[in-house]
């Protein structure tokens, strides 16, 4: 041992520089992170514990305390018994409506936008730049301006208050940003690959399905996350373009929480809110890694 110490003093530092785990820098860094994380998690915690408490316990007012007695009654009630207007079948109706709205909207908007982006990036057709400019311009118009004209448009198409109408609205509003996303991603794919596929005899669709799409899974994941969360969480379009029987989950949630009749059932409200937020949350957890990779792959740059 003495020998090695001597060697060290002669040669000076060698190998990796030793680092202290409990340095000032680390304490500040992790301390800040911890405080911020707690700060953001407290509301979620309150919601979770409240949703499994019974009403008597909630009335005691200790919102931060853990439940004395865990009950899933509020969850069941929120899902299948809570009343909105005349219907008393809970959020389940809204959930299925939201599924019926979100799935086709996401699929259709991504399918069209990815083909748009592919055509814009790889097949520089005549007027491509003009088309792209108009599309991007659309992204900068506040959509509140378009609400009333779209009501009239849907009415004339006979789609007002129907689910296909709302799906059409979501598809249209997703188009500018999604097309931009896909176009920018496809332009990062080397042009030579596209040329090679053409020499190999693949056509417009062949190249799209067999060369471009398999290479673009991260950006598809990004688009899915953006669209699912966006459409699932949408309230405004849902309440404007549908009727009560077709209300999506968010609108129904609002109607449950804001109902002024009877007792405020905080536990049911919390459970209903958590149920509504579950889908986007699940999507984030499942595709989180792909999402980051897609964003990092230059997907959202310029």
């Amino acid at each position: 041992m003495a020998d090695s110490a001597v060697v060290h003093s002669i040669d000076g530092p060698s190998g990796p520089k030793p680092r202290k785990t409990l340095s000032r820098r680390n304490i500040i860094l992790y301390g800040t992170l911890f405080v911020v994380a707690v700060y953001y998690l407290i509301p979620l915690y309150v919601m979770l514990v409240t949703s499994v408490k019974g009403m008597p316990e909630i009335r005691m007012g200790n919102i931060f305390s853990l439940p004395l007695e865990i009950t899933f009654e509020p969850w069941v009630k929120a899902w299948s018994q809570a009343c909105t207007g005349l219907n008393c079948d809970g959020l389940s109706r809204g959930f299925w409506n939201s599924v019926k709205i979100t799935v086709p909207s996401v699929v259709i908007s991504i399918a069209i936008a990815s083909i748009n982006g592919y055509a814009l990036a790889n097949w520089r057709f005549k007027g491509a730049n003009l088309f792209f400019t108009i599309l991007i311009f659309g992204a900068f118009i506040p959509y509140q301006i378009m609400i009333y004209p779209l009501v009239i448009l849907l009415r004339d198409l006979g789609l007002y208050t129907k689910l296909p109408g709302l799906i059409l609205i979501h598809t249209i509003f997703g188009m500018p940003i999604l097309t931009l996303l896909f176009r920018n991603y496809f332009t990062t794919i080397p042009e030579e690959l596209f040329k090679a596929a053409r020499v190999d005899g693949a056509g417009f669709w062949g190249i799209y399905f067999r060369v471009m799409m398999p290479m673009s899974l991260p950006i598809f994941a990004v688009a899915i996350v953006l669209q699912v969360t966006g459409i699932w969480n949408d309230f405004l379009f849902g309440v404007i373009y549908t009727k009560p029987a077709n209300y999506p989950m968010t609108v129904q949630l609002n109607n449950i929480v804001n109902s002024v009749l009877g007792v405020k059932e905080y536990n049911v409200n919390m459970a209903a809110t958590l149920l509504t937020g579950l889908v986007p949350l699940a999507i984030y957890f499942i595709s989180g890694k792909l999402f980051v990779r897609g964003i990092a792959a230059g997907a959202v740059k310029g």
Binding site: P190, E192, K195, A196, R198, V199, D200, G201, A202, P214
Partner: protein, 364 residues
């Protein structure tokens, strides 16, 4: 029979003229190299032949068939790209068979061709791997294989070796040459590397600003460049250019600008046509055509210089020097010792020189 015929080809990108009125005929089985600095239009020309760019004017014939409006896949070409352009999500086998599947070939035929190509290129053991698991050289072999399985008359190479390191580049260069000897296909090869061009080509087309400057065998281009640009582009180290005047006193005499008292006799040089007295010229001489020492004194042109910088390159040493304020490089044997400040007598035979007009830089 002509394999490829390009007639009056023009290509503009908006206002920018990339290729103008270009004519080129390539014989069956010929290895043609398009050589030029970047931006000269050589890759553009190749893309036009492949059908990957829409041309502005002119016609392209491949094997006697007018393919001007045909899709790339219908033209009977295979193409190899600089970045390999392998489909990353497919295996090597998938990459090789993609084009054949698109063409709707029967399964056995695809199998047979993939097997044949992978044998020629020695990539049989790699067939089940994805491109990401291959080295650069292996990837480029697969890319060549993709052209090979198509069983086409014409191969197009777009700087295929530029992404490889120097050692692999020389290896694959020889392999491409072997492949050409074996298959006897017509090949068009784009490069900016004049060594690749010299070693591979049957003929070289040197391009500049969308025009072919000279189209000839490597040897002819090396010894008889048609203008100063071609002379400077081919050969490494590049040619010396000395500015001066031809004095016509029944035999041509060169007078170097800025000094040099003796006036060397250029009688050995074969002029294209008779030359007027007092013509301003560039006298070009390759560093490797310059001799030194006793040998130099017997040359029609000789003078002595001071060594400024020398670069040992193994077999030879390149010496940088000046004559009359103009730069002059020459080669000496690698075993000769030389020091900065040494005076050396150098000389050359004007028969090996090239003389260009000072103004239009054309060969005289």
């Amino acid at each position: 029979m002509n394999s490829i015929e390009i007639k009056k080809l023009s290509l503009n990108f908006g206002e920018v003229v990339v290729l103008k009125d270009l004519n080129l005929t390539i014989e069956k089985g010929e290895f043609l190299v398009l050589l030029g600095a970047s931006g000269c239009g050589k890759s553009t020309l190749l893309n036009c032949v492949a059908g990957l760019l829409d041309i502005t004017d002119g016609q392209i014939f491949i094997n006697g068939k007018n393919v001007t409006w045909d899709e790339p896949a219908q033209r009977g070409i295979g193409m190899v790209f600089q970045s390999y352009a392998l489909y990353p999500q497919m295996t090597v086998k998938g990459n090789l068979s993609f084009g054949l599947k698109n063409a709707g070939l029967p399964k056995e035929e695809i199998e047979k061709r993939v097997k044949h190509a992978s044998e020629i290129l020695q990539i049989e053991s790699l067939l089940d791997r994805k491109p990401a698991a291959l080295s650069g050289g292996q990837r480029q072999r697969v890319a060549i294989g993709r052209a090979l399985v198509r069983d086409v008359e014409v191969f197009l190479f777009d700087e295929p070796l530029s992404n490889l390191d120097a050692k692999l580049r020389t290896e694959l260069r020889v392999e491409i040459k072997r492949l050409h000897q074996k298959l006897d296909n017509t090949m068009i090869y784009v490069t900016h590397d004049q060594i690749e061009a010299m070693t591979l080509a049957d003929r070289i087309a040197i391009m500049r600003d969308g025009l072919i400057q000279q189209l000839d065998t490597p040897k002819k281009i090396y010894s008889n460049p048609v203008n100063k640009y071609v002379a400077g582009f081919i050969g490494s180290p590049s040619m010396n250019f000395l500015k001066g005047t031809i004095l016509q006193n029944n035999k041509p005499i060169f007078k170097l600008e800025g000094g040099w008292c003796e006036s060397p006799d250029l009688s050995n040089y074969i002029f294209q046509e008779s030359i007027k007295a007092e013509t301003q010229v560039w006298l070009g001489i390759r560093p490797e055509s310059v001799v030194v020492g006793g040998e130099a004194e017997n040359m029609p042109v000789n003078f002595s210089l001071e060594v400024e910088v020398f670069e040992p390159m193994g077999a030879d040493t390149l010496v940088w020097s000046q004559i009359g304020g103009q730069e002059f490089r020459f080669m000496i044997d690698g075993n000769t010792s030389v020091n900065v400040g040494d005076r050396v007598t150098v000389g050359f035979d004007p028969a090996h020189a090239s003389i260009f007009d000072f103004d239009n830089e054309e060969r005289l």
